[in-house]
């Protein structure tokens, strides 16, 4: 008040619009400062984003390539199928120990054929291969029994140390105290690279394969966890979407507005902010301890994530329903539609884009959730490969992508660390494509009235 009265007295005499008075200058300066703060904040944000993306990409892309050693392997009938009947049951009886000598002799031949000189014994030479090399070959033979007796070109996974050497993670200095690899073996690796037997190529197994034990990071893949995540999302979609939409329709269109519905509304908003681990422990108590559903199963994970996603879906659906103009409801009621008909025939289709967007965002949130899965044991180590896991579906133990990433990140071997970053890239690709889909659907179905 006093400010204003003083001011009118001061401003009145000078009238030129070409000179700024002190008050205008102060106001403009304040506005300029505020804009500056905003730009600084955005700048910092962008810098962080770039750093994040750079870190993820630089550390994670390595997981998508893998070092392989190609060799000619003679699949001796005398070792693999003594009877010569090509009976699968009998071929399966030969364990990975039976394959080891074949790999050894193949290695010797390769070294000899390429004129590589090394003091290493064949047993030490094969150590540059992955520990899963023998089982790799065995799986191949079981899948192609007709190849027995022939000599085939086979690509063996290299040991994670060799892979690290190729990617610059392992150097001759860093292996001074490493029992898994010796300088002599690295010499052999160098020579194999020269002759073209040892190469780094794209690794599809990382995307479709199963997790591997601590000793074999080179064989670990995220594919099975992806299937686990997929099943969970299926459960979430099938349960959360209809329940969430029905609940919102009831609350928004039918429920009387009184203190009970007010409390429910406040609580739904609060539930959206409840830490996800709380939902995890609820799932553990209710679904596993009380209802005795199997542990580590995508069904349970999906149920827990459904509870977590419901508030998100309900809130966005209610917002979408509120945004439909009341004139549409009036129009429907005016021609004699019942309330339910008005909602389902007219309001719901108009609210659909908003509902879809909310649902996809909720799903994306659920896809990236780790904490509740830890509590219900969905961090299982699943080594069985894709077809079996897919077949067993909702009730067989599985992992999920974020849980798998967490699992890799806490293992000791740096090769797993690279896997974790690679997993994050895949997870982000999923999230970004889901969000893009949400935007596209919104654009596609948005209607004007």
């Amino acid at each position: 008040m006093t400010d204003a009265t003083q001011n009118t007295g001061a401003v009145a005499p000078q009238g030129s619009l070409h000179t700024l008075d002190a008050r205008t200058k102060r106001r403009n300066a304040a506005e300029g400062r505020f804009k500056l703060y905003g730009m600084i904040a955005i700048g910092i944000g962008l810098l962080m984003l770039v750093t994040l993306l750079y870190t993820i990409l630089s550390k994670g892309t390595g997981a998508f390539t893998q070092t392989f050693v190609s060799m000619e392997v003679e699949l001796l009938e005398s070792k693999l199928d003594k009877s010569g009947e090509r009976d699968l049951e009998k071929i399966k009886k030969v364990t990975t120990f039976g394959y080891a000598p074949l790999i050894k002799s193949a290695f010797e031949k390769t070294v000899e054929a390429n004129g590589i000189e090394t003091d290493l014994k064949s047993k030490d030479m094969t150590k540059i291969l992955s520990k899963s090399a023998a089982s790799q070959l065995r799986n191949y033979v079981i899948a192609n029994p007709d190849k027995i007796g022939q000599t085939i070109e086979f690509r063996f996974l290299a040991n994670s140390r060799v892979d690290g050497y190729m990617k610059g993670r392992v150097t001759r200095d860093s292996i001074a105290n490493d029992k898994n690899i010796t300088p002599a073996q690295l010499d052999l690796v160098d020579q194999l690279i020269e002759v073209g037997a040892l190469k780094k190529t794209f690794n599809i197994d990382f995307i479709i394969g199963a997790d591997a034990s601590d000793q074999r990071p080179e064989a670990a893949g995220i594919g099975v966890a992806m299937v686990g995540s997929f099943f969970m999302m299926l459960v979430v979609l099938v349960l959360a979407l209809p329940i969430g939409v029905a609940a919102s329709i009831y609350l928004e269109e039918f429920a009387p507005k009184n203190w009970i519905t007010d409390i429910i509304e406040v609580n739904i908003s609060n539930l959206a902010a409840v830490p996800s681990i709380v939902f995890g422990i609820l799932g553990l108590a209710v679904f596993i301890n009380y209802m005795h559903l199997p542990q580590s199963a995508p069904l349970v994970g999906g149920l827990v994530l459904t509870l977590m996603t419901l508030p998100t879906i309900i809130i966005s659906t209610r917002a979408a329903l509120k945004a439909v103009p009341p004139s549409i409801r009036d129009a429907a009621l005016g021609v004699g539609a019942s309330k339910m008909q008005a909602v389902f025939h007219h309001v719901l289709p108009l609210a659909a884009p908003g509902i879809l967007t909310g649902t996809i965002i909720g799903l994306a949130q659920a896809l990236g959730e780790t904490a509740p899965l830890l509590l219900i044991g969905m961090i299982g180590f699943i080594a069985s490969n894709m077809p079996e896991t897919v077949g067993e579906g909702l009730l067989s133990p599985n992992s999920a992508m974020p849980a798998q990433i967490y699992e890799w990140a806490k293992r000791a071997d740096p090769a797993f660390y690279e896997r974790a970053w690679g997993g994050i890239i895949i997870l982000l690709i999923f999230l970004i494509s889901m969000n893009t889909l949400a935007v596209l659907l919104r654009r596609r179905f948005e209607r004007r009235w």
Binding site: S327, D330, V335, G336, A337, H345
Partner: protein, 265 residues
């Protein structure tokens, strides 16, 4: 109070379609309609005029129970259509609204095709047994809405793509598609330009031979042009009701005269 009942009967030579007795409407604690008595003729146009907030739209919405959708709204008194109390417990508002159609202030076609806009009502009420019958109803309604010639070639184009005046006639066609007996219009021309208004007014005049039309309007000229009877509302009271010519040339109440001559409102 003013003897509206007597005024009503004075000029009433035709059959009464809707009769309201002692109607009170409350929005929460607000008394929006106070003790309204009115008899609305069959096959005639009745206009409700009055300043904003006088309760004319509220009263109109009582006639097809659209006020039921407002939680805080409470209606007392009797409203009878053909002698049947529409606020009776046995009356389903959905059935009532099929009999009493409504056209709103802002054209509100469904964001669907022109055909579907008209066909929606008949479909949910089961008025057509097959596609051919439905087609017939759609054509008849569009003709009655005086819009058939403009849209017959694009029945499957969205109704929201029409101009404002066309949309409003589409809404009128939609309202008549369910074969109502009464047609309520809540300021149907307030969002339209003068040419579209003239078209809609002409249409209202044509509708008179089949329906009882009740129209709320802000424009006194419009009331004078289209209606046979006029009711003047003020502050929730029905001040005067009578033949349109009488209301506009020889109002009995001082307030009516003030409003018509532009001194209040």
């Amino acid at each position: 109070m003013y003897d509206t009942e007597k005024l009503g009967t004075d000029v009433n030579q035709t059959e009464t379609k809707i009769s309201a007795r002692n109607v009170q409407v409350y929005y929460g604690d607000t008394h929006a309609i106070k003790d309204v008595n009115v008899d609305i003729d069959a096959k005639a146009v009745t206009a409700f005029i009055g300043p904003s907030g006088c309760g004319k739209s509220t009263f109109l919405r009582c006639i097809n129970r659209m006020n039921d959708t407002i939680d805080v709204c409470r209606v007392e008194g009797d409203i009878k259509i053909d002698g049947e109390d529409i606020y009776d417990k046995r009356v389903d508002p959905v059935q009532l609204r099929a009999k009493v159609g409504m056209v709103f202030q802002k054209p509100n076609p469904f964001p669907k095709s022109i055909y579907d806009n008209i066909a929606y009502g008949p479909r949910i009420h089961g008025l057509a047994k097959n596609k051919a019958e439905l087609d017939e109803i759609v054509e008849k309604s569009l003709r009655r809405g005086a819009i058939w010639n403009e849209v017959k070639d694009r029945l499957h184009a969205p109704g929201t793509g029409l101009s404002g005046g066309q949309q409003q006639r589409l809404c009128i066609a939609r309202a008549v598609a369910t074969e109502p007996e009464v047609l309520l219009m809540d300021e149907p021309c307030s969002a339209l330009d003068p040419i579209a208004t003239a078209q809609v007014e002409e249409l209202i005049d044509e509708l008179r031979d089949q329906y009882s039309v009740v129209i709320v309007t802000h424009s006194m000229q419009q009331a004078a042009r289209v209606s046979q009877k006029t009711a003047f509302f003020h502050l929730g009271n029905l001040v005067e009701y009578g033949d349109t010519s009488q209301i506009f040339t020889n109002p009995k109440d001082e307030r009516t005269e003030s409003y018509i001559t532009g001194r209040i409102g």
